[in-house]
Amino acid sequence: MNVSVDLTSRESIPSWLAYGAPIFTIVAALVVTSIPLLWEDLSPLDVYTELFVGTLSDVAGISDVLRIALPLFLAGLAVYIPLKAGIWNIGAEGQIFVGATVCAYIGLNVQLPSYALILLMMVAGGFVAGLYGAIPGYLRAKHDVNEIISSLMLTFAATTFLGYLLRGPMQGSGGQTATESLPDRAELPTQFPLVGEIHPRLHVGVVLLGIAVAVTYILMTKTRLGYEITFIGANPEAAIQAGISKYRIYIISFFFGGFLAGLAGVAEISGVYGRLFEDFSPGYGFTAIAVALLGRNGPFRVLLAALFFGLLRAGGTTVSVSFQVPSALVDIIVALVILFLLAAEFLKQYRISVDLERESEPETSPGTEEPV
C-alpha cells in the first residue's frame, strides 16, 4: 500500500485557526504531557490544578510568575522586534549574558548612590548588549551573512567569555566560578514606591514589564521607525524602493532587541541573584524564541506568552516539590508546548492531505522529479 502525504500551501488562514491555534497548542501539549504524569502514577488533573490554580492563588506564586516572566518577556521582545523586520535573533541568550556581565562589572566597581547606580547598570548593560546584538544585524545587512547562525554563534562566544571572566578577572573570593556579591546599593530593591514590599522575591524591576510593553507598542504602531520595520519585514524589495534603508532597519531592530535582552540580564543579576555566575539563565534567551512566536501578533501577546511560560516554570517548581516529581517534568511540558507550537504554525500555513493507496507508481529513485 502506498501512503502519500500532500502538503499544499493555504491561500488564506481560516480565522478559527488563526485565533484558536495558541489555545489548541497548549491544550494538546497538556494532553500529551499527561502520559509521563500517568507513568509516575499521578493524576494529571491534580497536577495541572496545582500548576495553574495553585500557583496563582497566593502572592508568593504570583510574585514568582512575574519575576520569571520578566526576563522571558524582555528576551521575547528581543526576538519579536527583529522578527517584525523579517530577521531572526536567535542570540537573545548571549545578549542576556552580555547585559549581565556589564551589570555585574559596574555594580562591583562603580561608586554611586543606589538609584544612579542601578540606572547606569541598566543603561550600560542594555547598550552594550544592544551593540553586541547589532553585530548580526550589521553582518546580515552589509554582507548578507545569515543572522540565525551569527547570532547563535555569538551566544556561545558570550557564554564562553563569561566562563573565562569568572575564572579570571572577575572571579570572586572563595574559589567559585562566580563574582563577589554585589553591594546592596547595586541590587534592585523589593520595596515598591507607594505600595511597599509585595513579596521578598519580587523586585521593582517587574515594572519593566509594563514599561517595555508600552514602549514597544508605541514603537511598532505609532512611530516612523515601527512603520519602516513593518514594511521591511513584509517586503524588503518594496520597502527599499520606497526609500527605506534595509541596512539601517536591520541594525536598529537588532540593537533594540539586544538592548532589551541586556536589560533582562541586568534584572536577573541585580534583582534576583545579587551576583554573577555561569548558569544564571536557564535558557531564557532560547525560550524567548517560543515566547516571540506565540506572541507574534503584538507586544501584548508577547507579554501574555511570557506570563504563561513564567507560570509554567514557577508552577513547575511548586509541583515538583509537592508531588515529588522531578523538575525535569516541567521542562518536558515547556518543550512540548514549543513543539506543538511549531507544528501549529506549520499547519496554519499548509493543508495536509493524506492519501492512502494512490494509483501505484513504479518505484522512483530520489531526484526523479524535475525541479520546477
Binding site: I218, T221, K222, T223, R224, G226, Y227, T230, F231, A234, N235, E237, A238, A239, I240, Q241, A242, G243, I244, S245, E363, T364, S365, G367, T368, E369, E370, P371, V372
Partner: protein
C-alpha cells in the same frame, strides 16, 4: 519509428489560472523532423502552452496527441517517458555535480540500476551489465553524434552558459526523446554561443529529432524554423511556412493591429531636462551585462517612451534610474543634481516617482494593508505628523481612503483591513500609480504600467500620465505595448540588447517599424519595404 508526418497534435488547448486565460483554444500541429518556431510577445502564452505539453501544467480543456496516441501528462516524467524533452530558460542543473552525474540524474533504466554510481563501483558493476553501454560511453557517444562538445567530468559550475545549455540538451537526448522543446534558448547566450546552438539544433534535426523552438526574435525564426506558429494574447494567430512570410509580416502577426485607444494629447512645450543619464551600464541579477552605455534625457512636460521586447534591459534601466540597482558605469542627474550611486531615498527626495514592473514583488507589501501601502511614499514627509513627532495613523487612514476614492480603486472594504495583495492586478496598479502621482513628481518612471490591466483601467492610467505631462512632469514610459507608446509618447526610443538602436517620434513611425527595430535591432530591410506599402 511510426510513419506519420505529424508527431504532435494539440487540439483546443485552453488553460485558465483562476480568471486569467493564459491559453485559449490553441491548435498546434508539429510535423516529424521539423523545427517548429513558436513566436509571440512576452505573456502571449508560449511558455504556458509548452509547460502543458511537458506535463508541468494540466490543461483546463483540450487534448494532446503525441506519436498518434492521445496523451495526458501529469508530470514531466510522463512527458519524458513518452519522448518529449524540454530545455528551460533557467537551467535545471546541479552546479556541484559533474556533467555526467547531471545527465544521468534521476534516470532509473540503467545497467542493473547502478547508473548513478560513479567511479570504481560503477565501472565494475558496469562490466557485468550484459554488454550494455555504461552511462559514460552513452553520454560520450551522444555528445559526439550531436556535436555537443562538453567534458563529462567537468563540474557544472565550471561551465559557461553555452556549455550548460548543451548539458541540458544532452540530458534530454540521454532519455531518448523524439521531440525537444527549447524555451528561448538564446535568451541567455552571446551571439557566438547562439550560433553554436543553432548548429546543434540543425544537427538534432538531421538525426531525426523534432524541435519546438520558442522565441520572440524574428531573425531566429527566419534562420531556424521550417514553420512557425504565432501566438498573441493566449490565442493562436496562425501557423505558416517560414519561407512564405517576411519578417515584417511576422512582426505584424506578433504585435497585432488592435484598435487604438485614442488619447487627446495637448501640445506641451518641453522645458528643462529633469533627467539626464549618460553611459548607463549595468548587470542583471544573474550578473549578465544587460545595459551597455545608454543615454537618456527626459524634459519637463515630455513623455519619453522606451519600446522593446521584454528582457532587453528595460527592467535594469528603470531600476538604475531610481537608485535601486547599482551602476557599473555612467552618471545620473535629476534637475541638475548629481544622484549617481545614490540610494532610492535621495531620488524620492529629488521628486522621482517610480512604478515598478512587478507590482506584487516590488510595488507593494502584499500582506500589509492598503493604508500601509498607499502611504509608504509619504510617511516620512510630515503629511501624517501627529503629536510628539509620532505618526498619526488616523490621518494616514483618511489619506488612504481619499486615494482609494480618487483613483477608483475597487475591492477595498476597509483600508486598514484589506491587504494590498487581495486587490486585483489592475486595482493594485491604480493604487501604486495613485500613490506615486500624488507625490507631484518631477520625474515619473513607469515600467509596464498597463500590463495585465483591463481596458478601462488602461485608459485611466494613460490619462493620468498625460495629466502629469500637462503639469510639467517628465515621464519615462517603458512599455511593450506599442499602441500605448505611439499614443502617449512625445519621443520613442527603441531598446535592443541593452542599447538604444533607434530614436523617433510617434508621428514619424508606426508599429511595424518599431516592431522590426524591437525584434531585430536593425532598420527594416529593403525587401520588407514593399510589405509596408501593401499593408498601408
Amino acid at each position: 519509428m511510426i510513419n506519420t508526418d505529424t508527431i504532435l497534435e494539440l487540439d483546443g488547448i485552453t488553460k485558465r489560472f483562476d480568471d486569467v486565460v493564459a491559453n485559449e483554444d490553441i491548435d498546434l500541429s508539429v510535423r516529424r523532423g521539423e523545427v517548429h518556431g513558436l513566436l509571440g510577445e512576452n505573456g502571449a502564452g508560449k511558455s504556458t502552452l509548452m509547460n502543458i505539453l511537458y506535463g508541468l501544467y494540466s490543461p483546463t480543456d483540450g487534448t494532446i496527441r503525441f506519436n498518434d496516441k492521445e496523451r495526458s501528462f501529469s508530470s514531466p516524467e510522463d512527458a519524458i517517458e513518452a519522448g518529449i524533452g524540454m530545455v528551460h530558460q533557467h537551467f535545471m542543473l546541479i552546479p556541484r555535480m559533474t556533467v555526467l552525474e547531471n545527465v544521468v540524474l534521476g534516470e532509473r533504466e540503467s545497467p542493473e540500476g547502478v547508473a548513478s554510481v560513479n567511479g570504481i563501483a560503477g565501472s565494475v558493476l558496469g562490466m557485468f551489465s550484459r554488454g550494455r553501454e555504461t552511462p559514460r560511453e552513452r553520454v560520450e557517444s551522444l555528445a559526439e553524434e550531436y556535436g555537443l562538445a562538453v567534458d563529462p567530468d567537468a563540474k557544472v559550475w565550471e561551465l559557461d552558459i553555452g556549455e550548460r545549455q548543451r548539458v541540458e540538451v544532452l540530458k534530454a537526448l540521454y532519455r531518448d526523446v523524439d521531440l525537444l522543446i527549447l524555451d528561448e534558448p538564446t535568451a541567455v547566450l552571446t551571439p557566438k554561443e547562439s550560433e553554436q546552438m543553432f548548429q546543434t539544433i540543425r544537427q538534432l534535426v538531421d538525426e531525426g529529432l523534432t524541435v519546438i523552438f520558442i522565441t520572440h526574435k524574428l531573425w531566429e525564426i527566419e534562420n531556424m524554423a521550417d514553420r512557425v506558429t504565432v501566438l498573441r494574447d493566449g490565442r493562436k494567430i496562425d501557423t505558416v511556412e517560414t519561407e512564405s512570410v517576411t519578417q515584417g509580416e511576422l512582426a505584424e502577426m506578433m504585435v497585432g493591429r488592435e484598435v487604438l485607444i485614442r488619447m487627446d494629447k495637448e501640445p506641451v512645450e518641453p522645458g528643462d531636462p529633469v533627467l539626464e543619464a549618460t553611459g548607463i551600464t549595468a548587470r542583471d541579477s544573474r550578473d549578465v551585462r544587460t545595459l551597455s552605455g545608454v543615454d537618456v534625457t527626459v524634459h519637463e512636460g515630455e513623455i519619453v517612451g522606451v519600446a522593446g521586447v521584454s528582457g532587453n534591459g528595460q527592467r535594469e534601466l528603470a531600476e538604475c534610474l531610481f537608485g535601486f540597482r547599482d551602476l557599473e558605469n555612467g552618471s545620473i542627474s535629476v534637475r541638475g543634481e548629481d544622484l549617481t550611486e545614490s540610494p532610492p531615498k535621495r531620488f524620492i527626495e529629488a521628486g522621482v516617482s517610480f512604478v515598478p514592473e512587478d507590482r506584487y514583488e516590488h510595488g507593494c507589501a502584499p500582506e500589509l494593508s492598503v493604508m500601509h501601502n498607499s502611504s509608504v511614499k509619504d510617511y516620512r514627509n510630515g503629511k501624517f505628523e501627529g503629536t510628539a513627532g509620532l505618526l498619526d495613523y488616523e490621518k494616514m487612514e483618511t489619506y488612504s481612503e481619499g486615494l482609494v476614492e480618487e483613483f477608483d480603486i475597487r475591492g477595498v472594504s476597509s483600508v486598514t483591513e484589506t491587504e494590498a495583495g487581495e486587490l486585483s492586478g489592475g486595482n493594485l496598479q491604480k493604487l501604486i500609480l495613485g500613490r506615486e502621482m500624488n507625490q507631484e513628481p518631477n520625474l515619473l518612471i513607469a515600467n509596464q504600467p498597463t500590463r495585465g490591466v483591463d481596458v478601462g483601467a488602461i485608459e485611466n492610467i494613460r490619462k493620468l500620465m498625460l495629466e502629469q505631462r500637462q503639469n510639467g512632469t517628465g515621464v519615462l514610459l517603458l512599455s511593450e505595448d506599442l499602441d500605448e507608446l505611439l499614443d502617449v509618447s512625445d519621443r520613442i526610443l527603441v531598446i535592443y540588447e541593452g542599447e538604444f538602436v533607434h530614436e523617433t517620434r510617434p508621428e514619424e513611425t508606426d508599429k511595424w517599424e518599431l516592431g522590426m527595430y524591437m525584434s531585430t535591432g536593425e532598420s527594416p530591410a529593403e525587401e520588407n519595404a514593399q510589405v509596408i506599402e501593401e499593408i498601408q
